[in-house]
Symmetry: C2
Subunit: 386 residues, 2 copies
Amino acid sequence: MQDERRHLRIPGPTPVPPKVTRAASRPIFNHRGPVFHRLHGQVTAGLKRVFQTDGHVALLTGSGTAAMEAAVANMVSPGDKVLVLVGGVFGGRWAKIARAFGARVIEYGYPWNEGADPGRVAEYLAQHPDIAAVFATHNESSTGVINDIEALAKAREAAGGHQALLVVDSVSGLGGAPLQMDEWGVDVVVTGSQKCLMVPPGLAFVAWGARADQRVEQTSNHRFYFDLRAYKGSAERGETPYTPAVSLVAALAEALEMLEEEGLEAAFARHRLMRDMVRAAMKALELPLFADDRWASPTVTSVKAPEGMDADRFRAVVRDSFGVELAGGQGELKGRLFRIGHMGWAGPLDMVAAVAAVEQGLKAVGAPVRMGAGVAAAQEVWAAWR
Amino acid sequence: MQDERRHLRIPGPTPVPPKVTRAASRPIFNHRGPVFHRLHGQVTAGLKRVFQTDGHVALLTGSGTAAMEAAVANMVSPGDKVLVLVGGVFGGRWAKIARAFGARVIEYGYPWNEGADPGRVAEYLAQHPDIAAVFATHNESSTGVINDIEALAKAREAAGGHQALLVVDSVSGLGGAPLQMDEWGVDVVVTGSQKCLMVPPGLAFVAWGARADQRVEQTSNHRFYFDLRAYKGSAERGETPYTPAVSLVAALAEALEMLEEEGLEAAFARHRLMRDMVRAAMKALELPLFADDRWASPTVTSVKAPEGMDADRFRAVVRDSFGVELAGGQGELKGRLFRIGHMGWAGPLDMVAAVAAVEQGLKAVGAPVRMGAGVAAAQEVWAAWR
């Protein structure tokens, strides 16, 4: 089937390795028996190594947004003041969820093509000693910008040792870009199965440390399915409180083993290589990059459509005629850019293919293009890579 | 692998047909593209035929409990008075979720081996004209009791045309036992993918009619991930608001097609046959059944452990030595009974196998058993079946 030959180059869900698909295909098993207990222990330990935390990890059955809601519902009580860093659609989602759960939201909106400024965060904190939590986005997949989470975590020190919790959405970052949760003092990190973790969508994870755990016990917000206290209790028995997506948990165990074999640092380097190849190619094709080099995401690259070109029509051509599916712009950016996902089970050859398809697409829609120029630039980056 | 040869005879998750597993294994695809749009349309239409409704259906990524929470969060505002029918663990779960979301809960506790009494429900309603919603369980899988939802729906008429919404958990019933949502005047029905629908766990569904939809628009409860308004809006575009478990949606499309081919009525009859075979077998083995015949669930049968026998130890023997995994008692019933699941992708031969393993297990733990008596009784039921 033509659909099944397509290269999926969107920022999630991402292609799944055959080994992981096979693991997901094993016969269904009891979620209250020894097979699941073993898997639960295995994936929890594996996830802690990826989150780089000794804290708690909850396995939720849900989308990435489910894990975001779990973070809000467990860390924020109605009336709490929170600071939300908004530089794209997913920063905006933190603000929406926080408002839905009764928080008083201060939005720090930063330019969509840059990361958040830790100095400005420190100013907000100094001005509002009662901020209960700061919500940030590690990798803003709507724009292709990665934040400096280590520096943002330190902003609390700059603000005189502010006690706000730092809650980070790393749905499209974790496993593809460094995030040392405990080392950097991040209190809560959320992610999903379908990005750098190479598993189909359907699982989401919340990791939280000791300070966040105190908050979990005190928060007064309504919550049941996302009540982290229930996940903590069940985890001690090697279970989840409600029937989990067992086939995806089996898949996750396999994917985490693959990531462990490659090594986290090697995976981060692979993602940087893919980013550098794609960016060099787009520059060679004279297509303007949306995110500044300094803030360029290692997992997704946003490219501005040339003047007069409809990015969504271009994407349809690249997909239907040349076999590569790109993502479009979200929110304010709809129709104005296309995004090339380079996360999870992907490598340099996939970038060569994606760039080639972009070139074919430009030619097909009548845009000026020097065939092969982008591909060559990507290859040069790969050749020079050490 | 030994684990993979096991017959999974628990009330969910249930075995998945090979065709459905293959559908779940297709390469990952974009949840914002034409492949998903087609699937979304197909499964939404298929689910409406199974729910027997012309109302709305939301596709959630989550456990069955997620759909229960969505029903509560969208139908109940803090301070609302609700009536919850509790005859087992899952009725109890309705009460817990409703309390977590600020409802004033009236619990009507009925005997765990019987269905709820529509007359008593009418009395509660007559006494409390301000009840906003009645929460009921179609098939209480913790006990093996099925409720008469049609009669419970009519209790509102008996109470002078009471306006309370009727919200039904049919997680372990839908697709295995009749439930004519619109015809009977049920306002909301929730279910999960991993029971009679023959799909791995990870998807959950909420169906709601016109009266419930008015409530959705008015409810003041905190909600984001489970906000049915967002699902309604996205469904018009053939999408879900957040990244869905796309591989499970592909699986669902295949499973719904299989169910359609068999026909709903034939599926119900197959479940009744399995129930009757198992019950006849247990009677022949002189093992007491937990649920009264009148209320016997077509999808799961609860059997009391003989005096002096630890049901959980017995189950471990049946699983590890004879290859059939049974479920244990939940809540107050832990250790006191075992449950035989007969839902989803299962048929009469599977019941013969399950009964044989129970007999082997009885012998192995030194309980009195006439080998083959249960199997023969099950076969007689099958032979007489039309």
